[in-house]
């Protein structure tokens, strides 16, 4: 049987879906988020209008959790629900975009022959070289789909995304600068954003080569250009449509949409993947 590749953070975030939010509340000091619209019964009003920044643009600031509804969920443990088997957990995981972006398309991703071989080899290798499995940055697509929350902070010049998963950090410059012609390759690339009405359009280039877009290893090359469209339709929701244009790896550009919802009255944890790391030598 293949060894399940997720480490504890993926396990908690991706698979033990029902348990994760409860753990967050139990362990991290809860402090009320300011400016949360409430329904008459005091609950956050997720469908209230999206807040605006001082410059009148939608404010994307907040802690966001991936909806994780695509792959299905595993029932919470109870006396009636014994712990799920590894096989059941893996079956759910493999249907998720975090694990396999191709699962979102009837015919899978439009790999070039080269990329199809890279992908095949990575699956055959049990994803042992996934950067996530070695405490390295996951890149923007695995971060978008990750089960652990991320916090966005919007300022007029830059939008910062703090990822709980492996304490990742990304900057999106919104000060009008152009994309550089020949940036140093970066795990997250170099990102600039501008507003198209109420949608933040982020263009990213300058990626490191041979990135992993999902656990299966759908590749992203240094020639990729990624366009993300962030739209906050209401207080509680954030939709990110991501278009990957990477002619070396894909025969045509393709687009997936990530759905996230807000988390209030909590915070992201400190998460240090490298600490007491004992797994990497055993991955095979």
């Amino acid at each position: 049987m293949p060894i399940p590749l997720y480490r504890c953070r993926c396990f908690a975030g991706l698979v033990l879906i029902a348990a994760a939010p409860a753990l967050v509340l139990a362990q991290w000091p809860s402090y009320p988020t300011q400016g949360v619209p409430r329904t008459p019964d005091g609950k956050p009003n997720m469908s209230a209008p999206a807040p605006k920044a001082s410059d009148g643009k939608p404010d994307l600031t907040g802690i966001w959790q991936n909806d994780r509804t695509v792959g299905g969920t595993v029932a919470a443990r109870s006396s009636a629900n014994p712990p799920p088997t590894n096989e059941a957990l893996l079956a759910v995981a493999r249907r998720s975009p975090f694990w396999n972006l191709g699962s979102q398309f009837p015919d899978g991703l439009p790999f070039t022959p080269w990329a199809a071989e890279v992908h095949r080899q990575r699956v055959a290798d049990n994803s042992k070289d996934n950067p996530d499995a070695h405490c390295l940055p996951m890149g923007i697509m695995q971060f978008h789909n990750h089960g652990e929350p991320r916090k966005m902070i919007q300022t007029p010049q830059v939008i910062v995304i703090l990822y709980e998963a492996n304490a990742g950090l990304r900057q999106i410059f919104t000060d009008g600068r152009p994309l550089p012609k020949d940036a140093d390759p970066w795990w997250y690339g170099y990102s600039t954003g501008h507003w198209d009405g109420d949608t933040l359009v982020v263009e990213t280039a300058g990626f490191r080569d041979l990135g992993w877009l999902d656990v299966e290893g759908s590749p992203l090359t240094s020639g990729a250009h990624v366009t993300e469209r962030y739209h906050r339709p209401d207080f509680g929701h954030l939709d990110i449509s991501v278009t990957i244009d990477d002619p070396k790896a894909y025969t045509k550009p393709w687009t997936v949409t990530v759905h996230q919802h807000i988390m209030v009255d909590t915070e992201i944890y400190e998460f240090v993947c490298q600490e007491n790391e004992q797994d990497a030598p055993h991955l095979k």
Binding site: W28, P29, C135, V160, L162, Q171, F173, D184, Y269, E270
Partner: protein, 270 residues
């Protein structure tokens, strides 16, 4: 990655950081006050946020008078306080006996157990003294410090929340700040046990409370006064002051310590 920091675990003091300007894209920093000849006016008044508070936003480095190591041309030297947080503290640190013994042990082990040698976090104080840049982003209710080192971050809440009574221990602790005039006073608790404040191995324990007083003296300069009250490791609280200077027209680089990391398995205290 730019630099195999873990290598430093087996070397004594060549803490290096190669210059940023040659490698990263120049983009002009907005809102820089200029002197008559067009140069940045570092002595100009500090910028302020919409609510009238000093704005710490910007890219900062710790200045140093140390000479760069000739064996590593083009690489910046570290500050004295990175090597020893008490480098300029009269009388040195007021160790508890066990803490003094621990420092001796750590010094005899060639930093084999230094978190920095193992690509794990440095904690809030050592991140102020590391010679790479850090970027402050200040918003209403929150100050973010982004570190080039391992593209990591620290959050300082400025929304008036109290410190939690018994938070989970963490490398950065839990930080809450309030304004005293133009000084941002940040209190931190919830720290992990047995951390390293510097390359000497001066310890900090889970009993520690840190108070940092951030002052942006003018456009170009910031001062951070740090008081560590850690009765488990020190017989009394002690205070040091470090400086930071602004860096313009550049930004943080991507620095992933664990990338292609081959050193840890070779670290030896002998």
């Amino acid at each position: 990655m730019r630099l195999p920091i873990a290598v430093l675990g087996t070397m004594i003091l060549p803490f290096l950081l190669c210059p940023l300007s040659a490698q990263w894209i120049h983009y002009p920093t907005a809102g820089v006050p200029r002197t008559a000849d067009g140069k940045p006016d570092l002595a100009a008044a500090c910028p302020r946020t919409a609510d009238g508070k000093p704005d710490f936003s910007g890219l900062w480095i710790i200045p140093t008078a140390r000479e760069p190591n000739p064996n590593f041309p083009g690489c910046a030297a570290v500050a004295d306080e990175f090597i020893n947080i008490a480098a300029h503290l009269k009388g040195g640190l007021p160790y508890q006996p066990w803490a003094a013994a621990l420092v001796k042990t750590r010094q005899s082990e060639q930093r084999v157990n230094d978190p920095m040698s193992r690509c794990i976090p440095l904690g809030p104080i050592r991140l102020h003294t590391w010679n790479g840049p850090r970027k402050f982003a200040q918003t209403a209710g929150l100050l973010i410090i982004m570190n080039e080192l391992d593209t990591s971050f620290r959050q300082i809440y400025t929304d008036g929340r109290p410190l939690p009574m018994d938070p989970n221990p963490s490398w950065n602790g839990y930080s809450s700040g309030n304004w005293e005039g133009d000084t941002l006073v940040v209190h931190t608790n919830g720290l992990r046990d047995h951390t390293w404040l510097d390359a000497t191995g001066n310890p900090m324990t889970e009993a520690a409370k840190i108070t940092e007083r951030f002052r942006r003296i003018n456009f170009g300069n910031m001062e951070i006064e740090i008081t560590v009250d850690d009765p488990k490791a020190y017989t009394k609280p002690w205070t040091v002051k470090i400086a930071q200077v602004i860096q313009l027209d550049t930004d943080l680089l991507d620095f992933v310590c664990g990338d292609n990391e081959k050193d840890i398995s070779h670290l030896s205290s002998k």
